[in-house]
Amino acid sequence: MSLTTFLQHCLTGISLGGAYALIAIGYTMVYGILRLINFAHGDIFMMAGYFMVFAVSSMPWPIAIVVVIVGTIILGVAIERAAYKPLRSSPRMSIMISAIGMSYFLQNLATYLFSALPRAYPEIPLLKRIFQIGDLSASLVTFVTPVLTVLLVIVLMSIINHTKAGMAMRAVSKDFETSQLMGIKINNVISMTFVIGSALAAVGSILYFTDRMSVTPFSGALPGLKCFVAAVLGGIGSIPGAVVGGFLIGICETFLVALGYSTFSDAFTFLLLIVMLLLRPTGLFGEKITDKV
């Protein structure tokens, strides 16, 4: 592998990793607040793909992007209200099962509404423009993805660490009842978590599908699982962990494909998960798991 191809693959891997990171944040934030693995998150990401297909056909793409983000937020919050909120005081396993059900529901809904045939994902000409840096050449989206990811993560971290709403999120993630005693409305904080997670999944979906050109009802399943693995690798609950995990998996996957092991690349992701769980169950950045009462 020459240096140029090596760098070219790095670039592709980092870009894929950026999209993964944005999705992984949704898993890690919801887990941080509700101790719930939101299995429907990958399918919310898939639905965002369809939203884009339809939005672009009837409006200019900059407006379509906004519509897609808003639509995805509404979908994410609606799922929380319908499938998770009524189970708030049930055993955690019930909510988990509800999440799995919601995931299949979204896949089937998409199949019913849009058929299982792949739909062409709209091309945003600007994002597809080819750029050349030295010997490296890639479309703009490849350069934009990691930069945008890092920017969004910085914004998100400063919201969480330096605003009143962020402080409330950190408090709720540790202790529901005491947060309530402070006058915090738990449900609003939980909704806010789903708003952020869904918005990032929408951005991630635009960046991811622009490179892949088509969307099916099952497009969210595997990326969703991989991003969940990314969140676990980084230490579920930790946002920087999810980002590092996302980049790690994106880069590994790209190199395995480049080296000709494309059939093995998905299995590798899960192998990584197993090894990590055996060696360091709390992930790279995870704190000690304390069970919530």
Partner: protein, 238 residues
């Protein structure tokens, strides 16, 4: 009109009756204490007042207004605050953030800053450690923080659930002198204590609870001299 009035309050936890209909009142400017054995339902009473558990009957009035089924947020806004059992500071927030979150519903930044200074003057230790994660404070410091955090809401009625639990005798003395001081500043106090002796000494009035019922009431002094209270809660024989 009493500041707080509880009428026939009942609470069930999945079929188990923790409160079987209790009634009591707190007048403005008083220190009132609830004493009783473990499991009598003292904490449940305070949690039901804050509506972090739902009551299964009865009513709660604050300054004449019924608050039985108001959300917790509104109740805090009315001026009631609870220092929960076991301190429950937010371990992943700094000391200063814990104080700020106590003022979560307030918007008067100048007033909040002033009250932070006031809490620091009550508990100078908290000022020294304002940057520290609350989870790394000692038990006594956490209790001070829990009280300080409650004061940040500018309460009219502060309810404290066993503030001296697990603290060294010297720190317990500090906590009681702080309770007095808070009371002197015009805040009404409803106090739950295992340390019945100390609680009855500073209280105007007290109620004795047994398995979900109020069984005895009187002034602090009357209860201190009551034979059954002396035997059951003060560990003194005839």
């Amino acid at each position: 009109m009493s500041m707080l009035e509880i009428k026939d309050l009942k609470v069930n936890y999945g079929g188990i009756e923790a409160l079987k209909g209790i009634s009591f009142r707190v007048e403005e400017g008083e220190i009132v204490t609830l004493i009783g054995a473990n499991g009598a339902g003292k904490s449940t009473t305070l949690r039901a007042i804050m509506r972090v558990v739902t009551s299964g009957g009865g009513s709660i009035f604050f300054e004449g207004e019924e608050i039985t089924s108001m959300d917790t947020q509104k109740i805090v806004n009315k001026g009631i605050v609870l220092v929960p059992e076991g301190r429950r500071v937010f371990p992943n927030l700094t000391v200063l953030e814990n104080l700020k979150i106590g003022a979560y519903l307030r918007a008067d930044q100048a007033g909040i800053d002033k009250d932070i200074e006031h809490v620091y003057s009550l508990f100078p230790r908290l000022k020294e450690r304002h940057w520290q994660m609350a989870g790394t404070l000692s038990g006594g410091e956490q209790q001070m923080l829990a009280v300080g955090r409650a004061l940040m809401a500018k309460p009219r009625l502060i309810m404290m659930d066993e503030p001296s639990l697990g603290l060294a005798p010297l720190v317990v003395k500090d906590i009681f002198s702080i309770i007095r001081r808070i009371h002197d500043e015009g805040v009404t106090v409803l106090l739950i204590e295992q340390n019945a002796n100390a609680a009855l000494k500073i209280a105007n009035r007290g109620y004795v609870m047994e398995t979900g019922r109020v069984t005895l009431t009187g002034t602090g002094e009357e209860l201190l001299n009551d034979q059954s209270v002396r035997e059951a809660y003060l560990g003194k024989s005839k």
